[in-house]
Symmetry: C2
Subunit: 198 residues, 2 copies
DNA sequence: AAATTTACCTAACAGTGTTAGCAAAGTTAA
DNA sequence: TTAACTTTGCTAACACTGTTAGGTAAATTT
């Protein structure tokens, strides 16, 4: 049965090669100009081979955006684990979120793009939910600490998430259009302010 | 010189026809599947004619998104003009913004899409700025009324703008993924809360 | 060694944005 | 009114795109 195993390994290998090549192309040229033939060229196979591993182009972009979520979540977990208080955790989360968007614009656009072909309509529910859960848990801890209304934790999670995501989206979407007064210090101040009013 | 005028009018007419047809197609099938040939079909001309009026497809999408901004700004101005207090103005602005996004998803995606091909890199500076200016003026009025720190008006504008845009983006981008707890009442509560803390 | 499966290719289809070149119509000048 | 010129709008084409069909040769199983 070793042959079958090797074959499976090989199939997995070329699958990984496709994703790697696609990610590289997306990073270099943007997701809009990614093409099956470019991927095929990069991995030195003919184009139809890709369809042995993925149903279509969208499935490739979908998998890439899922990898992006995995990376973001792992970064956040790493950053949070080092912190002692939930307030510090929340600050670290925002910092990580922002840095991720800044350093991995391609991933970010794919993951959170409004009207993105690959990630709409219920497909990202778990990834999206995981992120929200982390925020929720931290906010709950802070609220318990501050002994304010615990019922508001859910609403406050949405509000917090909206604020940092809105800020990041605006910054990433229109790098050149953004006024100088809207910079990272605004984000810092926003977080401090939100924590104060939790 | 009337002949030249008529020609200009005619040219303007078919230009408008192109935009109208394109907008209709975008509304019905989404911007991703808009094609020059579909537009040409709709206006009953051959495809190359479109290039007498627009440099390329991107220019058409760009003009549509600009029309979207005009519509949004006009809606906001209309809504605001009816209100007596700046607090009511701010609420009306958010309400209008949200309703616009909900009813004109195609416009919204084109206007604010992260990584949108047509509206990045400094192109939308004025439209974007106009919206921000409106928010800024209202917030300034409220701050003066409340006699809190006027210097914070700029930061607070960004924070406010981030929050409502973030909320709206999340709702529009992932209609199916959004948890039931994140609904319009969250938006209302957010605005009330922000006004309280201005 | 024969049969069968798999891996992979070329060719093709139907579509895309965009440009070149031409014919007919409209407009201007003699 | 006719000759010259400009504009208008077409067909055809180029170089792409995603995706599928069909065949060939190699690898594996019987």
């Amino acid at each position: 049965m070793s042959v079958a195993e090797r074959k499976l390994r090989e199939k997995e290998m070329i699958r990984k090669k496709i994703i790697d090549a696609a990610l590289q192309l997306v990073k270099n040229e943007g997701w809009e100009s990614l093409s099956i033939r470019k991927i095929a060229d990069a991995i030195e196979y003919s184009a139809p081979v890709i369809y042995d591993h993925f149903a279509n182009k969208e499935a490739i972009l979908f998998e890439i955006s899922q990898d992006g979520f995995k990376l973001l979540l792992s970064n956040i977990h790493k950053a949070i684990s080092k912190k002692a208080s939930p307030r510090e955790e929340l600050k670290a989360l925002v910092d990580t979120y922002w840095k991720f968007a800044l350093r991995n614009r391609s991933y970010f656009k794919l993951m959170f793009g409004v009207g993105m072909p690959c990630c709409g309509e219920g497909k990202m529910k778990t990834e999206f939910g995981a992120l929200q859960d982390i925020i929720y848990e931290i906010i709950k801890k802070i609220i318990i600490e501050k002994k304010t209304n615990i019922e508001s934790a859910c609403y406050k999670t949405h509000a917090f998430w909206s604020a940092i995501h809105g800020f990041t989206s605006i910054m990433i979407a229109r790098s050149a259009d953004v006024p100088q007064t809207m910079n990272v210090s605004v984000l810092d101040q926003m977080v401090v302010n939100i924590i104060e009013n939790l």
